[in-house]
């Protein structure tokens, strides 16, 4: 196997901010698993009235398990609609529960789920979520269907979704089952599997709800969504700073995700040649990506420029491949080396993602390495000598040691949590109060401080002795020690810097989810689409497997036929 791309290369924020989904992304892994595992989904209850208020239940069963999405639809006045965490009402709210709900469960959930953070769910609920309408698209789709017409594909592509989730909570939040609840469960024991399952079912409910409202409005005249158009609709999400600390707070998960992806890339790079099927599969994936990328838009100037560069990159990549780039020995390795010299970061990362597409049998097993036992290895190794610690620090945080924290720009920001609905924020240190309460995302600065503190201590002294006299370095020592076994744990950039873009952190995590259509609206929040092009539960076993990494959009479907 080839060497993995090093952490100093892949853990830079700019490259993380150019991440693209791959076949190891969680939505892809889930749907492959649902299909191969023979899972079945059914809508078992529909109790939504003609005003669009009520509930529904979607059940999935497979591999000895059963889950139900309990969906609530509400009558939300327009002026109350908000994507902020501080919102208190939504168009739709959801809980994914273990098993099937009885009437008493529906009642209990009806009293709590619509309140979201202000309510509580139980150990039987695995996911809590909510979604709001896209004002742009919802009315258009419902109105057209009510008249017996299909929505305009261009309008669908402009937005990409009928509703967007504004939070998807799992792992013990607000009373929901702890992540350990799914340990040992086939397919569902993996990072964010149940969350991705919930979103997949939410998408089905949203499409059903739109058709329902159209039928209420149009009666017998109303149409149902054309299956191709329905598939072109994903579920949107508005992701803000709330998600950013995750990568810092769950470094073992981050390492395992990155390591799995990099291992997959290395396995493909080690292949000596590309047989015709692989070349064809790659060409097909590349064509789909080009089609999709041509529709990616962003109002954020940095991202808009990045998309332009990516479109040019994809054209160059296509030409390069058409010119026989995959004909020689070690073609995938040669292709990646070429991309590193010839393409922007976006181009390099999409190329690395695309070379995995033809090689499912070689890399798909790595999906099972992406979870983490975050408790093992938590304990500090007190017996380590300080000289060994210093070496780890220099190896793993050399990039931080080069920053000059005396410069105002290097500490321009601070991360904090606001009193209002516990919302994470990014403050300007020199312009706002609150820096004394900053959250521990200052890893680079802390590493520099530790480095300075180690100077002057006996290099043969133990970490245990050092921490007795310098306990303030405990957090940093723990992180430095773990880096030896898990080099992709740390984001190798200063998260306090004036020019740091939190969207880069968000995008990295969202790419691992499988999101597409990254649309930053500022440097600290972005819109994305999930499951665009993916099969719905009622067609999972009829559609070709795994053929939806990049979806060109509704407007391309007619052209393709």
């Amino acid at each position: 196997m080839s060497a993995l791309r090093p952490p100093d290369q892949v853990m830079r924020l700019a490259r993380m901010g150019a991440s693209h989904p791959t076949r190891l992304s969680f939505m892809r892994v889930l749907l492959r698993g649902l299909k191969r595992g023979g899972w079945r989904a059914e809508r078992t209850e529909w109790a939504v009235d003609e005003t669009g208020v009520g509930h529904a239940v979607y059940r999935v069963r497979g591999q000895g398990q059963c889950y139900s999405l309990v969906a609530f639809a509400h009558d939300l006045p327009d002026h109350l609609r908000s994507d902020r965490v501080i919102a208190e009402a939504w168009d739709t709210t959801f809980a994914l529960m273990d098993g099937e709900p009885e009437a008493a469960d529906i009642e209990r959930l009806a009293g709590n789920v619509p309140k979201q953070e202000a309510g509580r769910v139980s150990d039987r609920e695995l996911v809590l979520s909510r979604a709001n309408r896209s004002g742009r698209l919802w009315e258009h789709v419902v109105a057209r269907l009510a008249e017996g017409l299909q929505p305009d594909p261009a309008r669908i592509d402009e937005v990409g979704y009928l509703m967007r989730t504004t939070a998807v909570y799992g792992s013990g939040k607000f009373g929901a089952a702890d992540h350990d609840a799914v340990v040992g469960r086939a397919l569902m024991d993996g990072p964010f599997r149940v969350e991705m399952l919930a979103v997949w079912l939410i998408r089905a409910f949203v499409a059903d709800l739109a058709e329902h409202m159209a039928a209420v409005r149009g009666g017998d005249r109303a149409a149902r969504l054309d299956p191709d158009l329905r598939r072109a609709l994903g579920i949107g999400n508005a992701t803000g700073l709330g998600m950013a600390p995750f990568l810092v707070n769950h470094p073992d998960l981050l390492h395992n995700w990155i390591a799995a992806r990099e291992t997959a890339i290395a396995r493909v790079r080690a292949l000596g040649h590309a047989p015709p099927e692989a070349k064809d599969a790659f060409a097909s994936a590349l064509a789909m990506a080009r089609e999709a990328a041509s529709g990616w838009r962003s109002g954020d100037p940095v991202q808009a420029a990045a998309w332009d560069a990516l479109c040019r990159d994809l054209a160059r990549l296509s030409d390069h491949v058409a010119g026989g780039a995959l004909a020689g020995p070690n073609p995938w390795d040669a292709l990646l080396r070429w991309s590193e010299a010839a393409l922007s970061l976006e181009g390099q990362e999409i190329c690395a993602a695309l070379i995995l597409e033809p090689h499912g049998t070689l890399v798909d097993d790595l999906a099972e390495t992406m979870g983490a036992d975050e408790l093992s290895g938590f304990r500090i190794d007190g017996a380590m000598r300080l000289d060994a610690l210093s070496k780890l620090l220099r190896d793993g945080f050399g990039w931080a040691l080069e920053a000059d924290f005396a410069q105002a720009d290097a500490q321009a920001r601070f991360w904090y949590v606001s009193e209002a609905k516990l919302e994470p924020r990014l403050g300007e240190r020199h312009a706002e109060p609150g820096a004394e309460l900053e959250q521990p995302l200052d890893i680079a600065r802390a590493a520099v401080a530790l480095h300075a503190a180690l100077d002057g201590h006996d290099p043969q002294a133990t970490v245990a002795d050092f921490l007795l006299v310098r306990p303030e370095h405990r957090r940093t020592v723990r992180r430095v020690q773990r880096l030896a076994r898990a080099p992709y744990r740390e984001i190798r950039d200063n998260l306090l810097a004036a020019d740091m873009r939190p969207v880069d952190m968000l995008r990295c995590k969202l790419a691992f989810f499988g999101a597409t259509n990254f649309d930053p609206r500022s440097d600290r929040w972005l819109r994305i689409t999930m499951y665009r092009g993916a099969p719905y539960p009622d067609e999972l076993h009829e559609r070709p497997e795994d053929a939806w990494l990049h979806h060109g959009g509704a407007a391309t479907l007619r052209a393709a036929e």
């Binding site: 939040k173 702890d178 609840a181 304990r379 990014l426 970490v463 921490l467 957090r475 723990r478 609206r521």
Partner: protein, 217 residues
């Protein structure tokens, strides 16, 4: 599964309880320790210790809430020597698996906290250890923990740790479910955790975390 432990130091009469998940316990205890004045590194230890203890039906939340509410900040504790259970936990954890000189002699507040690293060690090593102080015995094995006596004691004069081959008759195996904790303890922890939050100003609300209201969409 054995019934959850109830300490002999629990107040008389009904104790109002709330249900909290292990994630919530860990997160709130971490923030509460920070709010009480611990460095983040020590606060992380507190949060994880509470989670580990509660997952074994040991009263981690109660013991930590009481310790953090006793008023002495981390700085004051440091000045007075390592009588604080968190400092003792850290010192013990850093010396494991070597038991020589661990834990240090002298009184320790919230001694139950010391069980957390021992439980982790037992799991890592596939071995069993006994932690004792006056009136309390905890047996930590890879399969679970058995506990007897005044394990929620506010202070212990002398804590000892020894390897203990063999398995206890009825260890409490850990599980992931929500735990009942005293509402009073939870309130204390939340009040301490709230000290880590920055009050809202008009400017900070406007600058915000991200998604604007969806009027344009």
């Amino acid at each position: 599964m054995a019934a959850p432990w109830r300490g002999r130091n629990a107040p008389g009469g009904r104790v109002t309880e709330v249900s909290r998940t292990l994630s919530e316990i860990r997160a709130t205890c971490t923030k509460a320790a920070r709010g009480a004045g611990c460095d983040w590194g020590m606060a992380e230890e507190a949060g994880l210790a509470a989670r580990i203890l509660e997952s074994h039906d040991l009263p981690g939340v109660h013991v930590l809430a009481r310790l953090l509410s006793e008023g002495a900040s981390c700085a004051a504790c440091r000045g007075a020597g390592s009588a604080c259970g968190l400092r003792a936990l850290a010192a013990l954890s850093d010396r494991l698996p070597f038991l020589d000189g661990a834990p240090r002699r002298g009184p320790v507040r919230a001694p139950l906290l010391l069980a957390a690293p021992v439980i982790l060690l037992a799991r890592e090593q596939g071995a069993a250890y006994t932690l004792t102080w006056e009136g309390a015995v905890l047996r930590c094995t890879p399969g679970g923990v058995s506990a007897e006596g005044a394990i929620d004691a506010p202070i212990a004069t002398c804590v000892t740790l020894e390897p203990a081959p063999g398995s206890p008759a009825e260890p409490r195996t850990p599980d992931w479910r929500s735990r009942r904790v005293a509402a009073r303890d939870w309130d204390r922890l939340e009040r301490l955790a709230a000290r880590t939050l920055v009050p809202e100003t008009e400017a900070s609300r406007a600058r915000g975390a991200g998604p604007a209201d969806a009027a344009a969409d």
